[in-house]
Amino acid sequence: MTGSDRAYIRTRLAANEPPPTRAGPFHAIVQGLFSGPLNIAFTLFSIVAIAFAALPVVRFLIVDAVWQGMDASACQGAGGACWPFVQAKFGQFIYGTYPEALRWRPDLVFVLGALLLAPLLAPAAPLKRINALLFFGIYPIVAFVLLTGGNLDLRHFLIGRLTAWNIFGSATTAGLSWNFWSDYVATAFLVAVLVEVGAALLGARARKASFTALFVFAAVGAVVLAADLDFGLEPVETRSWGGLMVTLVVAITGIVASLPLGILLALGRRSEMPLVRLASVIFIEFWRGVPLITVLFFATYMLPLFLPSGVSVDGLLRVLIGVALFSAAYMAEVVRGGLQAIPKSQYEAAEALGLGYWQTMSFVVLPQALTIVIPGIVGNFIGLFKDTTLVLIVAIFDLLGQLRAAFADPAWASPVTLYTGFAFAGIIYFVFCYGMSRYALSLERRAAVAGGR
């Protein structure tokens, strides 16, 4: 159409054509790296910087490294990593002082965990529901029994502590204490009756409430029962656990527990019920207000002073609970950020369809909110994974703790032992954290496709 034309009518319609392509597979690279003087300067600068940083690392880890030897003498004059040190201490790094003859048990836990986790993470794998049930429901119990040996030493439940309930003495069947389990069942029914009476007084649905109470007791009981059975495994105290095994136990428990807890806390903080909201706010702000080190110290050294005498909670378990609650508080705030990004209209659409609160949350709001905050959630996971090294200060020897212990071995004293050890730990931490980070990225991409964005 030219300026002088008043009217215009197209006579032939233009056909569809493929977009223009530039020749050569290197076009994009050349275009990306060398398209202008400034770009060229940055490219060159980056190459030099990478060379400066990477070359010494490669030399230390590979070129100048010592690969063979029986003790520190092989590494005395070495200019690179002393890998025989890592090789010699490998068992200690992974299992701590877990008895060598029993190390097949943590091995089995590792393998089972990997076998269950891999298909859970792969979006295309089938049977997600069963897979999730196995991983989150069954696996923790199996891992617990394998790692500790199971067969808890339970004597009294609630009634036994408050009264002189001791009908069966120390009789046990298959590792189950008659005293404890009769006490447990009695307590369950007692609580159910109390709940029913209480609910009836408050005008709530009494029968339903008492059945819920019984159901909770049954579910918890089933878990404890499985952990209490005697499978004939030799018990291993958590005190002798260590190394990567402890790192993973602490990190995975923290990660798996903190997400659901965090979600509940975030929902609680936005609840319309003032008491629920207040309790959530207090909980979150309390745990966010204290440093993890304080939490660990408190759990390890102070808590026993507050517990009634005779009650002792395993040291590692206390730390696990502390870490889980601590990270749940942080997770709650991340999730809350996601919840705030969901417009009111989504809630309204769900409500208008007749969906109840929990249905609205689980099918409409949370899937969207959690997708938005994937980067924040994974950031928390990674932070938690690395923060597990703090358990060292309460005398739990995780990977880093075992490393430090190994440095003290005079048989391996050499100038490069320290660097080698930290390089090894660094690589392991990096592999886990980078793995999480990449996986999160792939999740985000999938979500972006699903959201049509």
């Binding site: 409500e351 208008a352 969906l355």
Partner: protein
């Protein structure tokens, strides 16, 4: 669906309904009775309380005085009754409000499966049936973000219909759409009206109102000013306020 199952049955009844937003008196003494199978179009200037009124009918908003009965159930603070009402009342919003993380089919089957406890297979068949009725069965596998506005709104209509509601509320279903898409949505609504659905529609589509409405209700400043059958309403408006409003929107 039969044209009017029971022509004398009352679908919605509002008596002396008042509502405030803080100090602001947004609904004043609303009386409205809608029979089953009736189609009502509500119009009025912006801010007159039209949306608030129909949102009170499925309790997205809470009224403070008066009575609202939907299908014989009175709306109170009782959550069970509210959910009962919501199961029977479908709603279509101005901004579609589809669930962006779910496919069209999943949008349509979510509530039937979880609220009506329908088996998944049957829910999907129902959904495809209604998607075909609004003429987009081929979009079932897509996400809302991949559809045009008109298509999204038709999905929203299908989603509401999948719950098999006794009545449908529409809050300006076409006012966020480009002119070309308005017609496809209105066509779907006309088809619904011809099937005898009880409908309460906030809209300024006067052609639609003339074609399908039994009554047109005019609201201003939180009150019902005038209500009449469409021909009378448009050709001989009685209240000065109505005349002024009609002269503004018809020219």
């Amino acid at each position: 669906m039969p044209a009017t199952g029971n022509a004398n049955a009352v679908a919605i009844e509002l008596t002396g309904v008042h509502k405030w937003f803080g100090q602001f008196h947004v609904l004043k003494d609303i009386d409205l009775k809608v029979m089953r199978g009736e189609r009502i179009v509500i119009c009025g200037p912006s801010g007159s309380g039209k949306s608030t009124l129909i949102r009170c009918i499925n309790r997205l908003e809470r009224h403070q005085r008066g009575r609202i009965l939907v299908d014989g159930i009175e709306l109170t603070d009782d959550l069970k009754r509210i959910e009962e009402v919501r199961r029977e009342v479908g709603m279509v919003f101005q901004q579609f409000n589809l669930f962006p993380h779910l496919t069209v089919l999943e949008n349509c089957t979510l509530a039937p499966i979880w609220v009506r406890k329908m088996p998944k297979k049957i829910a999907e068949e129902t959904a495809l049936h209604y998607l075909a009725r609004v003429k987009i069965p081929e979009q079932a596998g897509k996400y809302p973000g991949q559809l045009s506005g008109g298509q999204q709104q038709r999905v929203a209509i299908a989603r509401a219909l999948c719950m098999n509601p006794k009545l449908m509320l529409f809050d300006e279903p076409t006012s966020a759409l480009d002119p070309e898409m308005i017609k496809e949505v209105l066509d779907a609504m006309v088809a619904l009206a011809n099937d005898g659905m009880t409908m309460l529609v906030v809209s300024h589509e006067m052609g639609f109102a003339r074609e399908v409405a039994n009554r047109v209700v005019f609201m201003d400043a939180g009150q019902i000013i005038e209500a009449n059958e469409p021909k009378e309403f448009f050709d001989h408006p009685r209240h000065e306020r109505t005349k002024l409003f009609l002269s503004q929107i018809l020219h």
